[in-house]
């Protein structure tokens, strides 16, 4: 009987957590969906093996569910995954299940780890881990596992737009695996590669985002190439 009680208690707590995970995620998604569109200035600082690029500036535009545009004077490198794809995925609430997977302290904030698992076996996004601040309903960190691009880890910091769930700093950590250099006419046949040791497997892209303009009404035509 005692055992049975303990069992029921554990089952209830799982159910409670399960319901908590779903409701927490719903709160996060609702907050996300409160933003129809936004534009912002972004400074991009990329530190990727085999790529040398100075910090660059760009302007980003977003319109839900999945419209995204980068306007930059120069060349800006952004990760392929981790922007609108995650938002679009989470907005389709029937396409995944969410499980509570523990807690973690991230920079003094006690976050809940939500594991979001795609229902569709063919989905590009296989799994998302979200470390959510349950009090402010903000994603503090995430890890997206995709079919084609491997893992992307993302860390978020918030400032003025925390109420809209829009971060002021994002740090992407991407898998670079082995970028292969094509031995084409554009490589220098007279110089051998100097970086023979210390092959890093990951790279980071930091975004400092400012001057958000939220829900200004960006036309769909703006996103057409």
């Amino acid at each position: 009987m005692k055992l049975f009680s303990i069992y029921i208690l554990i089952l209830f707590s799982f159910c409670a957590h399960g319901q908590d995970a779903q409701s927490l995620l719903n709160k996060v998604v609702n907050k996300m969906e409160g933003v129809t569109d936004y534009s912002a200035n972004v400074q991009i600082i990329a530190d990727i093996p085999l790529i040398k690029i100075l910090p660059s500036n760009a302007k980003i535009y977003y319109k839900k569910p999945d419209k995204f545009k980068v306007v930059s004077k120069g060349i800006a490198i952004l990760p392929k995954q981790g922007f609108t794809d995650m938002n679009a995925f989470l907005s389709s609430r029937d396409k995944y299940m969410v499980v509570f997977a523990g807690t973690k302290n991230i920079e003094g904030v006690e976050t809940s780890l939500l594991t979001v698992i795609a229902n569709d076996s063919d989905s590009e996004i296989i799994l998302i881990k979200l470390w959510v601040d349950p009090l402010q309903v903000l994603i503090m960190a995430s890890e997206i596992t995709t079919r084609s691009s491997g893992n992307v880890k993302i860390d978020y910091k918030y400032n003025l737009q925390a109420k809209n769930g829009l971060p002021s700093n994002i740090k992407f950590t991407v898998d670079v695996k082995e970028f292969k250099m094509p031995k084409s006419f554009s490589s220098n046949p007279h110089k051998t590669s100097k970086s023979k040791g210390n092959k890093r497997k990951t790279g980071t892209i930091k975004l400092n985002i400012s001057n958000y303009k939220v829900n200004q009404g960006i036309a769909n035509s703006f996103f057409v190439k």
Binding site: L50, G74, I75, I77, L78, Q81, S187
Partner: protein
Amino acid sequence: MLLKNTWNELIKILAKPRSYIGFGALTLLIGVILVAMKADGKSFISFVTASFEQTLSFNGEILNGNLMAFVILQMLIIHVPLLVALVTGDLVSGEAAMGTLRMMATKPISRSAILGSKLLAGAIYTFLLTLWMAFMAYGIGQWMFGAGDLIVLNNDGLVIIPADDIMWRYFYGFGLAYLSLLAVATMSICFSVFSDNSIGPIVSTMAVIILFTIIGSLDVSSFNSLQPFLLTTHMSSWRSLFEMPVPVDDILNSIYILLFHIIGFAAISFWRFNKKDINT
């Protein structure tokens, strides 16, 4: 007398139809490359960035005038030496074959002044050709494709250079390209001094460039000690200006080697020309 005869040499170069082959060829080649890139440049870009595109997205205008200038310079730097040698390889031997060297050598102008003026005129012609290449590649490229950041693929990876940090690189880059073409011009004039026919020095110059290029690119241990001193190894030194940070020591080393070649070939030319019997 040196300057007077240099003026004479320039008149002769500009009067010869062969001198315009280089300009025509560059215009045609660069024109074709620019039009092709305008039509299908995106697939070229994909080739360069393909390896990274699984994880990263490249935003912004990659296909721009700065990239065009780089691609053109990269493609043509092996072919332009022939266009230079076509004219400079003929400067002494062509006149020997024609008999006009004899006419000139009976005038009160020293052998050194005759050869010096040919070297100067050859240098000016090479400069004009380089300038035309720069205008076509950089100027027309900017006009057709606009400015933008430059994405360069080196052996160490991709380098993305901001647009406002490019012009000086091209200024010095074309300067280095000129220096390497000047070395080719001096070599062809040197061969020309040893010959009494028009075609020999031109063919010899190209043969040397092809041979040195092959030796320079072979990964054979017995050639390794030779490679750093070959003229052709340093003909691509302009590329170093498009690295971050710019390897100043490497570039200076290339400049010294190229200058050594120029001075060496010029010295051999003066020695031989002053000794030479003019029998034609």
